[in-house]
């Protein structure tokens, strides 16, 4: 039923825990694993619009985010390879939810895995939250990893 899963990582500790959970699922149920990091161009543009960033910072941070993304994807590979799980990685740029959706569809993914959603300050904040947007935008089931850190690490270490 489930042949391929896609885990979204954004560099947060929570998303790297979700990556471990995805590796555990892939190994346990013999499912193909993909990982994606998206350089969030929209948020950089938004920060320029509200004058928090200046254009030179936008370009500088975009480069840094790309380098960070590659670093996190390499880390995902290391975590997966340590458990004998092959992982295909995608470094995308643009609108996070849209890029996750595009990749999920292009790779015929059955489930998208994301980490726990943060508590929102208001309804309007949901509009800006990337993971909320992924949940709403992708057409396939979304699996939200809510277990605590210790449980996830134990699960990952047990395979």
């Amino acid at each position: 039923m489930f042949k391929k899963i896609l885990v979204y990582i954004d560099g947060t500790e929570e998303s790297l825990l979700a990556a471990r959970y995805a590796i555990t699922m892939a190994k346990t149920y013999n499912i193909e694993l993909c990982g994606i990091y998206v350089v969030n161009l929209n948020v950089l543009e938004d920060l320029v619009k509200v004058n928090i960033f200046i254009p030179t910072e936008q370009a500088d941070y975009e480069k840094d985010m790309e380098a960070d993304g590659q670093k996190y994807l390499n880390y995902l590979k290391e975590l997966a390879e340590a458990k004998g799980v092959a992982v295909e990685t995608v470094l995308a740029k643009g609108n996070v939810a849209e890029e996750v959706k595009k990749t999920a569809l292009a790779k015929n993914v059955n489930i998208v895995i994301i980490c726990q959603l943060k508590e929102l300050l208001s309804r309007s904040e949901a509009f800006y939250d990337e993971k909320e947007n992924i949940v709403h935008r992708v057409p396939m089931p979304v699996f939200i990893v809510k277990e605590d850190k210790e449980k996830i690490l134990n699960l990952y270490n047990s395979i």
Binding site: V43, I52, D64, L121
Partner: protein, 149 residues
């Protein structure tokens, strides 16, 4: 945990006592230094000032979000302060600046850094919420508003 969720009373100061832009930045940085969150004060201060020299981080509506990235901190850190009467922070709208969020991130944490700036931007974008923040009389009260809105 988001940057606002991790804020504690010892990185929040109400009121800030400084009278000038440079002093306010120094006072905010001192909060983080006192807590042992900044390893190289001089280097971090230079980074903050280098950004300010390009364009002020004083925004509209009494808010400033000075920020820097680089060596000198081990993780993303933030200090918050209020100057109730406001100071000249070379803001975009020319109005006095009252509420300050200093955000410093180490190299390799660009994603969380961007998220933190976005989170603060969303927090202060609402007029009613902003007014409530300005009226906080103590660090505890300010933190309570940030955490409860």
């Amino acid at each position: 945990m988001t940057v606002l969720e991790t804020l504690t009373e010892d990185v929040v100061k109400v009121p800030l006592t400084s009278e000038t832009k440079i002093e306010i930045l120094d006072e905010l940085l001192e909060i983080l230094v006192a807590k042992g969150l900044v390893k190289n004060r001089e280097k971090v201060f230079q980074k903050i000032m280098a950004r300010e020299e390009q364009v002020s981080t004083g925004l509209d509506h009494g808010i400033a979000i000075p920020h820097a990235k680089g060596e000198g901190v081990d993780s993303l850190v933030c200090a918050v302060g209020i100057k109730p009467e406001g100071i000249d922070f070379e803001s975009h709208d020319g109005q006095p600046t009252k509420l300050f969020f200093l955000v410093i991130a180490p190299p390799g944490q660009t994603g969380p850094h961007i998220e933190a700036l976005k989170e603060i931007a969303v927090l202060v974008s609402d007029n009613t919420r902003r007014e409530k923040l300005f009226q906080a009389k103590t660090s505890k009260e300010l933190l309570s508003i940030i955490h409860s809105v």
